[in-house]
């Protein structure tokens, strides 16, 4: 795999995924996070979200895939991530993980990262850092 060159201002190659209830259910099984907010449409319909939403950690898995694809093992070996969940992702959303190198100093590179849906709503924002 050819990793992205770490240069100030460079954009990371994005990763896009189309969510579905089936994918959310699969993640519930793998993670053992069976909160009905994610898997039970009847339960979720009566919450503030009005329907099921994806697990936050599933969204972070998409961000992490983007960081792995662009930065390789240095992300798995010494990466740091600090994010805020801003809005929920719903089944049928197309979510895209994006990143941009914002600082390169002292042997580490910082990237502004975010996850947006197909309505361009910000779902997750934060910063990732890796050694280089």
């Amino acid at each position: 795999m050819k990793n992205t060159e770490i240069e100030l201002g460079s954009e990371l190659k994005p990763v896009a995924k189309t969510l579905s209830q089936e994918k959310i259910n699969r993640y519930s099984l793998a993670s053992s996070d069976n909160n009905p907010l994610h898997t039970d449409p009847d339960f979720a319909a009566n919450t503030q979200f009005g329907g099921t939403i994806a697990h936050g950690m599933l969204l972070l898995a998409y961000l992490s895939e983007m960081l792995t694809a662009n930065l390789g093992r240095r992300w798995l070996e010494r990466g740091r991530l600090k994010i805020r969940f801003r809005a929920p992702a719903r089944p049928s959303d197309v979510v895209t993980a994006l990143g941009r190198v914002t600082r390169v100093s002292d042997g580490r590179a910082s990237c502004e990262v975010e996850l947006r849906n197909d309505k361009d709503e910000l779902l997750v924002s934060g910063e990732a850092e890796v050694p280089f």
């Binding site: 099984l29 793998a30 950690m57 792995t68 694809a69 992300w75 990466g79 991530l81």
Partner: protein, 153 residues
């Protein structure tokens, strides 16, 4: 100390105290949650990768484990250790990978409440996470921030 076992698609898990579930409102700074032990089977790692469609980790070889798979185990220890109220939200996450993790490793997840309290009608808790290998070295650390309406707390 009670010990309980569970298996999810080949993921061997064992909690130090499977019966204890700490109530959300009793969370207080310094409180430690029960530890959990996991054996990362190839079958479970594959299940996780398929669920997250992570082609980037696959490209690193069949022994590589996604960083977020390890983080998911740490978060699982919170879900199993705390009686979260309906309406609880995961609002923030910090993670630091200390080294890469390989298929077949044994891991221990630990969690401790960093802060907890009411603020503007919400109960907010920050919980420090630590995942160790079998020698006690950290492979991943982090902090989860969870909130819920105070009236449900």
């Amino acid at each position: 100390m009670n010990e309980g076992s569970s298996t999810s698609c080949g993921l061997q898990g064992k909690r130090s105290d499977p019966l204890a579930k700490i109530s959300w409102t009793s969370l207080a700074k310094g409180l430690e949650l029960p530890t959990s032990h996991y054996q990362l089977s190839r079958e479970w790692v594959q299940q996780y990768i398929e669920a997250t469609e992570d082609s980037a980790t696959v490209a690193l070889g069949d022994e590589a484990v996604p960083a977020m798979a390890v983080a998911a185990l740490a978060v699982r220890s919170l879900l199993e250790g705390i009686e979260l109220p309906a309406g609880a939200l995961h609002v923030g996450q910090e993670l630091e990978c200390r080294r890469d993790v390989r298929v077949g490793e044994g891991l221990v997840t630990k969690a401790q409440v960093a802060s907890a309290g009411k603020r503007s009608g919400w109960f907010l808790a920050a919980i420090d996470l630590r995942v160790e290998d079998e020698s006690g070295e950290a492979v991943l650390t982090g902090r989860s921030t969870v909130t819920a309406p105070a009236q449900n707390s």
